[in-house]
């Protein structure tokens, strides 16, 4: 690449990044500005309230239950998704290769079915869940696993494709390992970063989920934020901002995990 073109490219890059960066940062800045507004001048009151968990519990019970539910849903969704997908995907690769295509189709199907449509069909299913277990918001996890299926499947599939599952597991089996050992001590450590990225994606998605929870009248973070937006706007905007930044930090940290794997593969 010649010098003139490289300079032109760098200029183009800066213009695009600065202009779009402004477009993306302005609403975030506006949120920050909004939360520090007072009758005259600025105040950090909203943020002080937010930093004090006990005060939130007392003054905003909906918000605190919403936060707790969302965190529980996020953790449970990630775990359930991994328990459901990883063994099945490994098993299909090893024993039922003809099932790979149908399974991929099933996992990507939720992309074609909008969450709002899923809600319509989920209502009777959740009537049964409520009847069999109870109506706790935690069971939204079942629907969330379906929502994260396409993203998790892609991440795990990429991870499994990068290693030779068949050879690894046959080697372990010939040394006397059972299926549990193969999965837990051979396959899992080899797809660690794929597992991590699918789990983080699930967490980010669940923390942002609103449609299903709201229409099935369950509680989670976004439902609480939306409710609070009608009474105490500043707090709800502040919580939105925190959730957004938290998710960003999570995925930014993830970019380093993924990067390490890539570079180690290049080195080998």
């Amino acid at each position: 690449m010649n010098a003139a073109r490289r300079r032109k490219l760098a200029l183009f890059r800066w213009i695009v990044v600065v202009v779009l960066g402004l477009f993306f940062l302005l609403p975030l800045y506006a949120m920050l500005e909004f939360t520090t507004r007072a009758a005259n001048g600025r105040t950090a009151q909203t943020w002080k309230t937010l930093a004090d968990w006990r005060q939130i519990q007392e003054n905003y019970p909906d918000l605190s239950t919403g936060i707790v539910y969302s965190l529980e849903q996020a953790a449970l969704t990630a775990v359930l998704m991994l328990i459901l997908l990883v063994p099945t995907m490994v098993w299909v690769r090893l024993r039922l290769p003809w099932l790979r295509r149908p399974m991929e189709f099933l996992c990507l199907l939720p992309l074609t079915i909008p969450a709002i449509v899923l809600v319509v069909g989920l209502a009777p299913v959740y009537a049964w869940v409520t009847y069999l277990v109870n109506g706790s918001s935690i069971w939204l996890t079942f629907a969330y696993v379906i929502l994260v299926l396409p993203f998790a499947y892609r991440a795990l599939d990429a991870g499994l494709s990068a290693i030779d599952v068949k050879t690894l597991s046959e080697a372990a089996r010939s040394l006397g390992a059972g299926w549990g050992t193969v999965l837990w001590r051979v396959v899992l450590p080899n797809i660690r970063s794929a597992v991590l990225s699918s789990a983080f994606l699930s967490v980010a998605l669940v923390l942002g989920e609103f449609t299903i929870a709201s229409l099935l009248s369950r509680e989670n973070l976004q439902v609480a934020i939306n409710l609070l937006g009608k009474s105490d706007t500043q707090i709800s905007v502040a919580v939105s901002l925190v959730a957004l930044v938290l998710a960003f930090v999570l995925l930014f940290a993830l970019s380093f995990v993924g990067g390490r794997r890539r570079s180690s593969k290049e080195a080998s």
Partner: protein, 303 residues
């Protein structure tokens, strides 16, 4: 079976051949059962409900719900949803492609790429309520920019009506999550472009314009179109942002579904809601099918 039968191993030969048939399938039963309960059954509920009369009318097969899709109000919602999705998909695709190109030409493991890709992953997923609030705080009636322009330049951005809740406003808000999604889905295609192709074009005397028109453009066109379709489907399915932003009326289809689900005024509209939902699935399914077609074309060149 693609694998040839292995010679019977001492001690384990009989068990292996038996394992391969029925018991192997048992391994996928938990996953299969889960998907049937929480994905297949809900889909069937929607599909069957769309063609079933409401219980008040005695049930039975009917086309009345589908006919209800032809009502003025519903048609308007579909037209509005489709124009909103198309406008925001186009805006998002063009701006997102520019940003993706800026990132693709930067250092592969550099800070810019890391920050942009993780920010995009968050913003593409995290729309919803947060986004609605962010824009209310920015260009709402007491938003930061609204007030700033009013106080410093005496300009009222809403002098021509509150456009934030109409097509232009919603398009702007939707663009905020469309650009990041475009970066995520279009970046792999840009990464697949090899510098050697550019060098080859240059060594044959081609200019930058000729390279983009004759080599880069045609190579990227299927990926670009496919990504735009995906953005369209994404906007068409979006519910949370509009639900948190628009409190009166239901201009888009997802909000109409909410209406049909929760409506107290129009009793017995549940199955019309299912017909609306089926209508959405049909639109998204067509779009995703086209996307898959283009994707296959893309992967032939830009793996």
């Amino acid at each position: 079976m693609t694998r040839p039968t292995p010679p019977p191993a001492p001690g384990g030969g009989v068990g292996r051949s038996r394992l391969r048939s029925l018991p192997s399938l048992l391994g996928v039963v938990p996953f299969g059962a889960y998907v049937v309960i929480f994905l297949i059954i809900p889909t069937l509920v929607v599909a069957i409900g769309a063609f079933t009369a409401n219980p008040e009318d005695g049930g039975g097969v009917t086309l009345a719900n589908i006919k209800a899709l032809g009502e003025r109000q519903v048609l308007d919602a579909f037209v509005f949803s489709i124009s909103l999705s198309a406008a925001s998909a186009l805006m998002g695709a063009i701006l997102g492609a520019l940003l993706a190109y800026a990132v693709a030409t930067a250092k592969p493991n550099g800070m810019l790429r890391r920050v942009v890709t993780s920010a995009c992953a968050v913003l593409a997923q995290f729309g919803g309520v947060t986004l609605a609030f962010a824009f209310l705080a920015t260009i709402g009636l007491t938003g930061f920019i609204t007030l700033y322009l009013q106080n410093h330049f005496d300009v009222n951005i809403f002098s021509g009506g509150v456009w934030l809740f109409e097509l232009p406003g919603l398009t702007l808000v939707y663009t905020y999550f469309q650009i990041p999604l475009m970066v995520i889905v279009f970046l792999p295609a840009l990464d697949g472009i090899r510098p050697q192709w550019r060098e080859a074009a240059e060594s044959l005397g081609g200019s930058t314009w000729q390279y983009w028109r004759l080599v880069g453009g045609p190579l990227l066109a299927p990926a670009f179109l496919g990504s735009t379709l995906l953005l369209f489907a994404n906007a068409f399915s979006a519910y949370a942002t509009a639900a948190a932003l628009v409190s009166q009326g239901s201009p888009i289809v997802p909000l109409q579904i909410r209406n049909a689900l929760t409506s107290e005024v129009l009793l017995g509209q549940q199955n019309v809601g299912k017909a609306l939902a089926l209508g959405m699935v049909v639109v998204v399914a067509i779009v995703m099918w086209l996307y898959a077609l283009l994707q296959r074309r893309t992967s032939r060149w830009l793996g």
